[in-house]
């Protein structure tokens, strides 16, 4: 039986392999070809040099890294709190999960606009602050003059939008921790904090690692949230790639930016694999 159908699994895999070869692997290689192609068709650093010399390059690189470094810890603190709440099995557990998971389906652009309605000068935040008498005049949150304030707005918007994916991964990880472990800790009189520190976090390591890798890769590509909240007031790498591809119409420099994002992603992935080794990896 299984011998007769020996070819079947390969036949089932074939379409997906072919599709990914054409639309995933080929463009990946082509991106580097574009970034390093010379005028004569040979190898050249012209486009990379042009990217490095671009007026916005340094600020785009700096802001992107700053956003990753600031957003990831905030998201993980929030996601961990949400996951622990779900795992504590409050009444209406399904409802809590739905609410926390809601932003999972919300796009970067929509999320950016949601927070524009809050941070804009005549927006909700100023209305509430002045309504409560905390400030006397409208504060301009989204101003190119104060980039750190603008970055703070983006961090909050990104924390709101993209925490849920981490939360889901952590909840799935928490559910795989045997309840007996926590009960044993209870019997020995462990406080909640001790249980989190000594039982939950160590056992959650594989999930944390996956979530960190996934979320960091996505964070390096931050794009529409920045455009919505900051316009061109702040440069990030993905927006630069888009500007070179569509406005300037230079696919080579755009590909160089994209390649840089890829390198940063791979670097961060390797960093997390080294910093947070898990037992599963040794087994696999």
């Amino acid at each position: 039986m299984s011998a007769r159908l020996g070819w079947a699994p390969y036949a089932l895999l074939l379409p997906s392999i072919a599709f990914l070869a054409i639309f995933f692997a080929a463009p990946m290689v082509q991106a580097f070809a574009l970034a390093f192609e010379g005028a004569d068709g040979g190898f050249s650093f012209t486009h990379v040099d042009r990217m490095l010399g671009d007026a916005s390059f340094r600020s785009a690189l700096f802001t992107t890294i700053a956003l990753v470094v600031l957003v990831i810890p905030v998201q993980f603190a929030l996601a961990m709190s949400m996951a622990l709440v779900i795992n504590a099995r409050l009444k209406g557990q399904g409802l809590w999960l739905y609410v926390y998971a809601l932003p999972l389906g919300i796009s970067e652009l929509a999320a950016g606009i949601v927070w524009v309605s809050i941070f804009t000068q005549t927006g909700w935040l100023n209305s509430i602050l002045m309504g409560l008498g905390i400030t006397e005049r409208q504060i301009i949150w989204q101003s190119g003059e104060s980039p750190w304030l603008l970055i703070a707005c983006i961090v909050i918007a990104e924390a709101w939008r993209a925490t849920s994916i981490i939360m889901i991964i952590l909840v799935a990880g928490l559910q795989s921790i045997p309840r007996e472990f926590l009960e044993a800790a209870d019997i020995y009189g462990a406080t909640t904090w001790q249980k989190v520190r000594r039982v939950v976090l160590p056992m959650l390591r594989p999930s944390l690692q996956v979530a960190l890798i996934l979320r960091t890769i996505l964070a390096f590509q931050v794009f529409a949230t920045v455009i919505a909240l900051a316009g061109t007031g702040i440069d990030v790498l993905a927006a630069e790639a888009q500007r070179w591809a569509t406005d300037i119409d230079n696919d080579n420099v755009a590909a160089a930016y994209a390649g840089l994002i890829l390198l940063l992603s791979l670097f961060s992935t390797i960093l997390f694999l080294v910093l947070l080794p898990t037992r599963e990896e040794h087994q696999a």
Binding site: L20, Y100, G112, V114, G131, S265
Partner: protein, 285 residues
Amino acid sequence: MTAAPREVPLARRRSGRERIVERGLLYLGATLLALFVLVPIYLIAVSAFTPRENAFDFPRSVIPSEVSVDTILFFINASGVLDSFWRSVIVAIITLGLSLLIGAPAGYAIARYGFRGRNTYRLVILSTRAFPIVILAIPLAVTYRVWGIDDTVIGVAFMHTALALPFTVLIVSSVFISVPRELEEAAQTLGCNPFQAFLRVSLPLALPGLAAAAIFTWVLSWNDVFAAVILTLQNPTLPAKILSALTQSPIYYQFAAGFVMLIPSVVVIFFIRKYLLGLWGRVVK
């Protein structure tokens, strides 16, 4: 070890009033986190249902004095919005169809068959997630110009399918792993051929999970901005249209746009909420 028994009553005492306080704090924290998610959604809804002439009123009132669809109608009737909306819908449907057509057989194969190269294939599929999608769009735009499918719905759909396919494969495989293989075998001993066994036994059982996977693919496509901006020019999808209109559009246009983009996502997550843990939890493993 010997000290342990003495600590047991200590632990029991803790479970009295402290337990209640702890539980209360937990509900408080849970509520604050929920408000952080829900309040901005409420605020954009109020913004979108505020009539245009009141868009700049200050201070804004959290409880709207007037609910009107004026702003939303203005947005929908703005030039190019309805066209790009339909384009987005069509791209998402093609993406969904293609990724199920191509990805579901592969997912079924790695769930049901043991074969050489299975783990390698799984690993390759998993590792696609380590690559930023940003890098795909730019070379594909160049390729599409050669193929003559630049600035088309099908071109965007191909790119979205490339993004969604790894998820579809992994999700579908996890769905079929949870449908017992024995049922299919039982059907075969009762006279079904393998294909009939799949069609009559496994497929109906897998259907809800597959639907969740399909909906998730749909959301992925509906939400993409970056690829759509790179790959389209005259024929943008809705997010691409909105992004390029952002700088020239009045703020009430943005509010309505944000709300219109957000609503399908909120509804969709409600319908697939039961499967979220399965979708993402299993993708991890």
